[in-house]
């Protein structure tokens, strides 16, 4: 076989991953696997192996619930044929491999640095002299925004090429948030330190990333999480979705200058994140998810409190939505703004909301279920216009759906296990992969252990890594004044991308 097929949260000996010749590796992944519609790339990365670089490619099949993993060995400085020349979804993955390991590709469109990582090969290249695409024309002008933006948000630089008020081209340059987090996973030796790192990948998706880490760690330790752990994680994931979606609807109202919507959605987020504080002592749910245990079991009294929170939240939320979603001045800003076609979504390989916004049903909760999603029978909400309006509608409907899931889950609380065995250390020389559907989309964590069972390599992929290009495509031919609303409607992560 050209690849080994495993399920989500599967853990296999590293040696069981087929090692192919590079040309065969390319053909198998790009021409065979990626030519089938249900398949998409969930991770593609390299790690140092005996003085060379071993590349691991993970292609997930959304219908068979399998992840096809294969590998090859490449040598720095040698020229290879790129995946990207045949499939754009690999574009950023190959740029990262080039930046970190000096693997050269003769037919990649443009091997620009992804994030000017501390562990990059070419230290002389710095973020201040990023090679932007430019067009020499007297008719056009450039607009540079960032890295520091007008509001309280993370840093990134947007370079527009405009024809008058119209955006012709946008290039998004990231890397400002790079903290070297993947390397720190290896340097920090205790499980708690690594869990704190997972919580700090991006603070708006604490549950998503920490669940991915915990599930991955447990699978490597051959620990099967009991019902109560799985229950808490599932419930927290849906709650995080509600909180962030509500905040995003507030932000979208701000960007169309609709003060009432901005205030009401903004304040509706408060009881949800305050609930996290009641549950675990932290409004963004840091400290809630722990591998192999839970410090904050979900009790009947917590369930009653959450029911009360929802009962108060729901009428206010519905009333505000009813007004926003029929107001002509709001709809005229939402509709047909920031459109991404289904064809472009498939080409770029976006995930999560940014795929479901236009006909591409990509949702880990359905395709690679983990925790309680086996029982929920999740039906993803899919829209068909790919515009700001679709993304707003999805948030509204997903909030309703998540509340329904949580209410159903709470009808039958699992018993709390108070006598859990201590986690043993991970198995030696294994490869593990964990997929989680965060509120933005698919999160993927991959780990490899050494002969002692300690971490040898840790790889994080936030959904934003796939998705940022969609924003650059969406704003083409829009007025530049519509950029903020487009940007907010996607709400991608900077820290999750930069790591």
């Amino acid at each position: 076989m050209d690849y080994i097929s495993i399920k989500n949260n599967g853990c296999i000996p590293l040696t069981s991953i087929p090692e192919l010749e590079y040309e065969k590796f390319l053909a198998s992944n790009v021409f065979e696997l990626m030519s089938e519609t249900p398949n998409h790339c969930v991770n593609y990365y390299g790690f140092p192996d005996n003085g060379k670089i071993r590349l691991i490619c993970c292609i997930a099949n959304d219908e068979t619930h399998l992840i096809h993993v294969s590998s090859t060995v490449v040598v720095p400085g040698v020229q290879y044929s790129s995946f990207t020349a045949h499939n754009l979804a690999f574009e950023r993955f190959e740029r990262e491999i080039h930046e970190n390991f000096d693997i050269a590709y003769h037919n990649h469109p443009w091997l620009k640095p992804v994030r000017y990582a501390a562990n990059r090969v070419e230290k002389t290249k710095t973020i201040a002299n990023y090679p932007f695409y430019s067009i020499a024309s007297e008719e056009l002008h450039e607009v540079g925004v960032g890295p520091i933006h007008a509001g309280i948000i993370e840093p990134g630089h947007f370079r527009f090429i405009c024809n008058g008020e119209q955006i012709l081209h946008l290039e998004i340059q990231l890397g400002y948030q790079h903290r070297g987090i993947e390397k720190l996973f290896l340097e920090k030796k205790t499980l708690l330190q690594r869990t704190i790192l997972a919580e700090s990948i991006t603070g708006d998706t604490v549950v998503g990333h920490t669940t991915a880490f915990a599930n991955l760690w447990e699978s490597m330790c051959e620990f099967k999480p009991e019902c109560d752990l799985q229950f808490s994680r599932t419930l927290a994931l849906e709650l995080e979705r509600i909180a962030v979606h509500t905040g995003d609807l507030s932000g979208m109202c701000t960007d169309i200058a609709y003060q009432l919507g901005s205030s009401v959605f903004g304040r509706l987020r408060t009881p949800i994140i305050n609930y996290f504080q009641q549950w675990c002592g932290n409004r963004v749910s840091k400290s809630l998810i722990r591998a192999g245990k839970s410090n904050f079991p979900f009790t009947q009294s917590l369930a009653s409190t959450l029911t009360e929170v929802f009962d108060k939240y729901e009428p206010d939320f519905n009333e505000m939505c009813a007004e926003l979603f029929r107001m002509p001045s709001a709809l005229s800003r939402f509709e047909k703004t920031g459109v991404v076609s289904e064809a472009d979504i498939r080409k770029i390989g976006t995930v999560g909301l940014s795929a479901r916004m236009n006909g591409v049903n990509r949702d880990i909760r359905l395709s690679h279920p983990h925790d309680f999603y086996h029982e929920i029978q999740h039906q993803p909400i899919v829209k068909h216009h790919g515009d700001v309006y679709s993304r707003a509608q999805m948030r509204r409907q997903e909030i309703g759906q998540s509340m329904g899931y949580i209410r159903n889950l709470m009808k039958d609380l699992p018993d709390i296990n108070t006598n859990r065995p201590e986690l043993e250390s991970p198995q030696p020389n294994v490869f593990g992969i964990s997929l989680v559907e965060g509120w933005r989309g698919e999160i993927c964590h991959c780990a490899i252990t050494d002969e002692k069972g300690d971490l040898r390599h840790y790889k994080i992929k936030d959904p934003s890594f796939h998705n940022w290009l969609a924003l650059a495509i969406a704003v083409r031919n829009n007025e530049i004044s519509d950029f903020p609303i487009s940007n907010k409607s996607f709400d991608f992560s900077y820290s999750g991308h930069d790591l």
């Binding site: 994030r115 000017y116 990582a117 501390a118 201040a128 890295p147 520091i148 007008a150 509001g151 309280i152 948000i153 993370e154 840093p155 890397g175 400002y176 948030q177 790079h178 903290r179 070297g180 987090i181 390397k183 720190l184 920090k188 205790t190 708690l192 330190q193 704190i196 790192l197 700090s200 991006t202 603070g203 708006d204 604490v206 905040g247 009432l260 205030s263 009401v264 903004g266 304040r267 408060t270 305050n274 504080q277 009641q278 549950w279 675990c280 002592g281 932290n282 409004r283 963004v284 840091k286 400290s287 410090n295 206010d316 009333e319 009813a322 007004e323 992560s493 900077y494 820290s495 930069d498």
Partner: protein, 251 residues
């Protein structure tokens, strides 16, 4: 229009009437209290993910603490986190909570420059710079200005340009790639100006301390006017800290 008024009516009053006395819901982990209980201190030290705990006698540095609470779970009779959210101070040493100490964390008036209360009391405009922040402190700083916490009522606001600002609020451990933009932003802010560090990552680097991808030289060269601990900061910690910094003091 009528619908909008109806929504307004249904929403009623949402603001916290007195942010200096508000109670936080649930089990918030604020200022810790350390008892004299004898415990295996070596074990206690190894639990802490960021080395915030020192031994004999035990102390916790809130500038390094990620408020994960694991020490209190392991040694509940030794360490207890109270719901006291007023933990911001202008003296780095005051962030260290010692064994047996159960008093509020306060600002040292002697360290507050005279122009701060002269010029910023009643009107303080801040420019926020996220320098490797994970977006949790950023979310909470945004929340400071929402209709619940309504920091704007005190004349404290976040502004879009450093040119309009009286100071900067830094979040994140300061990544190498943000070191220069941060310096440029600070230089663009007119004098007199203040610097506030918000969150454990900004104060000490937090879990990222020592990473080669950071560049924290900015902090060596500039005086810090306020440290706001938390992971992330709580809006009430931030608002109360800033109010204490700029309030009018007699004499």
């Amino acid at each position: 229009m009528l619908n909008n008024l109806k929504i307004l009516y249904h929403q009623g009053k949402q603001y916290i009437p007195d942010v200096t006395k508000a109670k936080v819901p649930g089990i918030f982990r604020g200022r810790p209290v350390i008892s004299a209980e004898k415990v295996d201190e070596e074990k206690l030290l190894t639990i802490c993910p960021t080395g915030a705990i020192q031994s004999s006698p035990v102390s916790i540095d809130l500038g390094k603490c990620t408020f994960c609470g694991e020490c209190a779970f392991a040694f509940p009779r030794k360490i207890r986190f109270t719901t006291d959210y007023k933990i911001a101070t202008n003296d780095r040493n005051k962030l260290i909570i010692h064994q047996g100490q159960d008093v509020p964390v306060e600002l040292d008036p002697a360290l507050i420059r005279k122009e701060i209360q002269d010029m910023f009391n009643g009107s303080l405009k801040l420019r926020q710079v996220s320098a490797g922040g994970d977006n949790s402190c950023e979310l909470e700083l945004n929340a400071c200005s929402n209709v619940n916490f309504d920091m704007g009522r005190f004349g404290i606001e976040f502004v879009a340009s450093p040119r309009h600002a009286d100071g900067i609020v830094i979040t994140g451990p300061i990544s190498e790639n943000m070191a220069e933009p941060l310096q440029i932003c600070y230089d663009a802010t007119p004098d007199p100006k203040i610097i506030i560090l918000a969150g454990v990552d900004a104060i000490s680097g937090g879990i990222f301390a020592g990473s080669p991808a950071l560049n924290r030289k900015f902090l060596e060269n500039n005086k810090i006017d306020l440290y706001v601990p938390g992971n992330p900061i709580h809006p009430l910690t931030f608002i109360n800290g800033v109010l204490e910094l700029i309030r009018q003091r007699n004499g």
